[in-house]
């Protein structure tokens, strides 16, 4: 519980099963960053929603999760190698994006270098 990594990257196939791994890694990093249980629950929710958005966009083969704890926050980036032509499109008016925006302190949805990307920052306190 003492060592907090500066950043951590996890990569996996673009399949729903990968979400379990992402959730486990995210909660482990969050606990080392002294996040509360309520915040960890909500971090896992946001990871799930962001990854689901990416799984449904541009037929991806791979998903990446990047976690960057920094003081009282954790910046999380999820990217895929899916096609970006209609990303994010109207997804930023959908339910998943609403959930992400509500739970995260900051959130962005853009076309990254590799493909569709969702980035969000969560504080270690609830809300």
């Amino acid at each position: 519980m003492t060592h907090v990594p500066a950043s951590l990257v996890v990569s996996g196939p673009a399949e729903p099963e990968t979400l379990c791994v992402f959730r486990a890694v995210a909660s482990s990093v969050a606990s080392r960053a002294d996040m509360t249980l309520e915040s960890i629950d909500e971090l896992k929710i946001v990871v799930d929603e962001a990854a689901t958005m990416l799984l449904r966009a541009g037929a991806p083969q791979r998903l990446d999760l990047i976690l960057e704890p920094n003081g009282g926050t954790i910046r999380t980036t999820l990217t895929s190698d899916g096609a970006v032509r209609d990303w994010p499109g109207d997804r930023t008016t959908g339910w998943s994006w609403r959930v992400i925006r509500q739970l995260a302190r900051e959130a962005a949805c853009r076309a990254g270098e590799r493909g569709p990307e969702v980035t969000f920052v969560m504080s270690t306190d609830a809300r």
Binding site: S39, D41, W95, V99
Partner: protein
């Protein structure tokens, strides 16, 4: 002797009047309200067996409603006696029929119970959600086990607040106290995700409060009268249902 002014006799008379007024919903509600403390007391006797107090309370409430529905005033048995037998029967049936929705090792079930208890206690002591380190220190479980237990909680089959528990369709959720005025839900927000309409009303309400009214899990828990952990479970489950429904739509 049995003077009309004796409070217990007055109580008995009042209860008898309510039974006589059945199936009047108001009389039924008064009976539920009067005997809910008995149900809660009986539920507490089953604590420490791997079930949350919230879930046990709901099961006991269900038993109470069954007892009210089945009670025969002509048989000369005190309702409290009949209700006690019925509620305990319901609690025992719950332990027999329900529990973990997937196979979870016994030691992890026990860890989950410890984590749940410690979290609730720490919450009261600290006034906010504890960290994993704090729960770990309190339970003497490793941080990894605490995290594992948190994930395992999601595999626990929660008896839904929306499960009808009376012949008139009364739900456990409705028995949990008056609805907080902050919880009034408008309909237009559901246009955002049509699948929301498929969720039980109470789960929709929790989503609405969290994502449209900016209430924290703790605030929702207080407003509804259940634990934050239960809110968390319901939120996670509801969102998973919505994601699954979205996946189905994509596939078609």
């Amino acid at each position: 002797m049995n003077e009309p002014t004796d409070p217990s006799v007055a109580d008995d008379l009042e209860v008898a009047e309510w039974f006589a007024a059945l199936p009047d919903p108001a009389a039924r509600e008064r009976l539920v309200h009067r005997f809910l403390p008995l149900a809660e007391h009986l539920a507490s006797r089953f604590a420490g067996r791997g079930e949350s107090r919230d879930d046990l309370g709901q099961v006991a409430s269900l038993g109470l409603v069954h007892a009210i529905d089945r009670f025969d005033t002509e048989r000369g048995v005190q309702f409290a006696t009949f209700a006690t037998v019925t509620i305990i029967g319901e609690l025992k049936r719950h332990f027999r029929d329900r529990g973990w929705s997937i196979r979870v090792p016994r030691n992890l079930q026990e860890a989950t119970l410890l984590v749940n208890r410690a979290t609730a206690t720490l919450w009261q002591e600290l006034g906010h959600s504890p960290t994993v380190a704090e729960v770990s220190a309190r339970t003497e479980l490793s941080p990894e086990t605490v995290l594992e237990a948190m994930e395992a909680v999601q595999a626990y089959s929660t008896s839904s607040l929306e499960t009808p528990i009376g012949e008139d369709g009364t739900t456990a959720g409705e028995l949990m106290g008056d609805v907080d005025p902050r919880m009034a839900v408008s309909e237009d927000w559901m246009a955002m995700a049509p699948q929301l309409r498929e969720l039980p009303e109470r789960e929709r309400r929790i989503l609405y409060l969290r994502f449209f009214k900016d209430m924290t899990q703790t605030e929702i828990a207080e407003a509804i009268g259940i634990s934050q952990m239960h809110v968390s479970r319901l939120l996670t489950r509801s969102l998973a249902k919505l994601r699954d429904a979205g996946t189905d739509e994509d596939a078609t």
